[in-house]
Symmetry: C2
Subunit: 422 residues, 2 copies
């Protein structure tokens, strides 16, 4: 008879030094003592990934993608062995496995591979041998050019995806993501002191929050959880407190529709000024950006007058230089007057299932910002979200005002019921 299986994931800040690693080991040991089988996914220690990227950058400004993946994957190998050693020191049988050893196969896109399948034969064998299995997150294997297996990495935050995928494959009873915050909040508590932790949030809402800049969970991990109905708990590795459950939410339509605020400072505005207003212009601008791998988000085209129009859009701030490099030669070709950019902007979003059926929320958002004299430069919406681009200087004022306007500090009856049940 096998024990209930719990999957736990610990991020880099939870593993930043030997003391923290020993603390994580004690937490794992407690869970083990409670009578559960355990698979633990770990990220690289602290800033290891950035340090390795720095090392590669010191060698070449264009590191080979395959080699970079082998290099980065060593960070998770290291933390996995250290957590396993710390468990041994506590008398807990444990073994570390690399992503390939854990049976995680991916496509061959180095640096941003997607999980293609999981065959956790060895994970099961080690669990049956009575061991806690520590899996190096963020990585898997694909086939090489000569037919052998090659290590690939899943991109930033990929360990979340490893955890959710393994939880789905092993049919775990719980999937816990340990992080440096206590869970999902109605807004970033560093900016909004009245922000409240949510006991539960739906996959769809979490996905929008993550898309719009909430950095607690990786977008793909949430998607994978949704598709496989894995209940994910986000909680703090530094304190014993209930976290936030991400799961299918049957009460979603009965609630206050705004569940939380997201914000994103990694954004810049690009405007092609006075471009001739004729068919094909948008394509001439956006095709080269797509080819350069630049993510364009909000797009606004002003009503044309005199045969000219202004076309504005946002790109991640870190990709602004590359966007300018791509577009500068096109401005003259297109007959536009100039290219202007503004990196001092930010996005603020309200997120909640069913927002699209309740136009009153948009009006309340815009009115709240107007009352605080915050100028809205662009607007975009989805099924469960309304996003405004504003000046970055106004961001904190906007977040606090919206948090008050939508009464997010007040627990909802549904939240209270779920919290008591959890």
């Amino acid at each position: 008879m096998s024990l209930p299986l719990v999957v736990q994931k610990f991020g880099g800040s939870s593993l930043a030094d030997a003391d923290r690693i020993r603390r994580v080991a004690r937490r794992i040991a407690r869970e083990r003592a409670a009578g559960n089988d355990l698979v633990v996914i770990v990220s690289a220690m602290g800033d290891t990934t950035d340090e390795l990227l720095g090392l590669a950058a010191a060698i070449t400004d264009d590191p080979d993608a395959r080699e970079l993946d082998v290099l980065l994957a060593t960070g998770e190998h290291q933390s996995a062995t250290l957590v396993s050693m710390a468990l041994h020191a506590l008398g807990v049988a444990a073994i570390s496995l690399t992503g390939p050893q854990a049976g995680i196969t991916t496509d061959g896109r180095y640096g941003r591979a997607r999980i293609a399948g999981i065959e956790p034969r060895r994970v099961r064998a080690e669990l049956e041998a009575g061991k806690v299995v520590i899996v190096a997150g963020f990585q898997g294997q694909s086939a090489s050019a000569v037919g052998d297996s090659e290590i690939t990495t899943l991109g930033r935050g990929g360990s979340d995806t490893t955890a959710v995928a393994l939880a789905a494959s092993l049919q775990a009873t719980r999937c816990q993501i340990f992080t440096d915050v206590r869970g999902i909040y109605t807004a970033d508590p560093r900016l909004v002191t009245r922000a409240r932790q949510l006991p539960v949030i739906s996959y769809e809402e979490m996905l929008e929050l993550a898309h719009q800049g909430a950095q607690v969970m990786q977008v793909r991990a949430v998607e994978l959880g949704w598709v496989n109905s894995v209940v994910i708990e986000v909680l703090s590795s530094f304190e014993d407190a209930p976290g936030t459950l991400i799961k299918e939410d049957p009460f979603v339509e009965q609630r206050n529709k705004v569940r939380g605020l997201a914000h994103d400072r990694n954004v810049a505005k690009v405007t092609v000024v006075a471009v001739p207003d004729r068919p094909g212009v948008a394509r001439a601008i956006f095709d080269p950006l797509a080819e350069a791998g630049i993510n364009v988000d909000m797009i606004v085209q002003n009503v044309g007058h005199g045969g000219e129009t202004d076309l504005s859009f946002t790109v991640p701030r870190v990709e602004l230089a590359s966007a300018k490099k791509t577009l500068d030669p096109l401005v003259r070709e297109l007959g536009a007057r100039e290219l202007t950019t503004d990196a001092s902007v930010a996005k603020v979003s309200i997120v909640g299932a069913g927002l699209h059926n309740a136009p009153g929320y948009a009006a309340r958002m815009f009115g709240t910002l107007a009352d605080k004299a915050v100028n809205i430069e662009m607007i975009s919406t989805s099924e469960v979200r309304i996003t405004c681009m504003i000046a970055e200087a106004d961001l904190e004022i906007a977040l606090r005002a919206l948090h008050d306007a939508f009464e997010l500090e007040r627990p909802e009856p549904i939240d209270a019921a779920v919290s008591a049940a959890g």
Copy 2:
């Protein structure tokens, strides 16, 4: 038609930072441009291995051997990818392989595995694809408890062994060990300014030098070269200068028999004082030491008088504490008076093929030390070596006096001939 194959190995000090890695890459690129296929074995960067050991020690004072091997192996993975990236940046096609990917299989002794076999199928495939193959040294794979493959490390200096084993397996035309010295010297040039670089040395002589403390080459790598007749060249990675060839030497009997001096400070003397002189005492002392994994080297038993004797032997200085811990409880059991230890000793050796047939050399060694008032505490000999244990404070005086006495600064005619031919 395949190109001549050269195997090169670069040690940690040659790869200590990004600048040195780029320099190593330029050297590899030059060799490649000269029309050779290349397999390059790398150690971990600089002090990486010690740093990783420190990290493990901060977690637990008894790290699991399997986990420690996975941890340590990441050091070589990292340097292999960085060298490969640096070659890419120079426009040289290259690929890094882990020890397991290079087909190196070992027995299952973690931390001190021995190479059991090499199936360099992938190395050959990548060479045929026109790539320089960078192999992470110091590691291989063995079978795990559940039948999967596990990474193992070969112990300190294991990258030398990786290089020689791959050179043998691939029938390389050359095997070059790049290090931070120019080659093998008649004595340590940091201590003996008149020390002379040897153009050639036999496997047997090199083996004795390595055994007796010369840290340029790992003992097992020399053995493996000898068994497989791999001609090994030891040379500097920091300058373009001919190194020292280690090979079968047909002229060995015709030469000045003393080829070089070795010394070793990693030694301590242990004396069991006034132990009853009866059969079985030696076993009662040395069996527990062997079980504790402590290497006993020189052994001297004084002539017994009054039914008692003093038994002295040497252990590596780093193992002295552990030797004391093992022996302290035995002293009373054996009826000995006490245990004394001395960590301020050193070994000095003269090495040369055929020394055992020429007793005059021993006399000259002892006389030279006596002339300098250096007291000899123990003596041991082999076919090609005479070793004296002396006070560590006398070491440099002893080395210089012996270097002069055996005229080691003078090139031999045979050396000169080899040098001109090389």
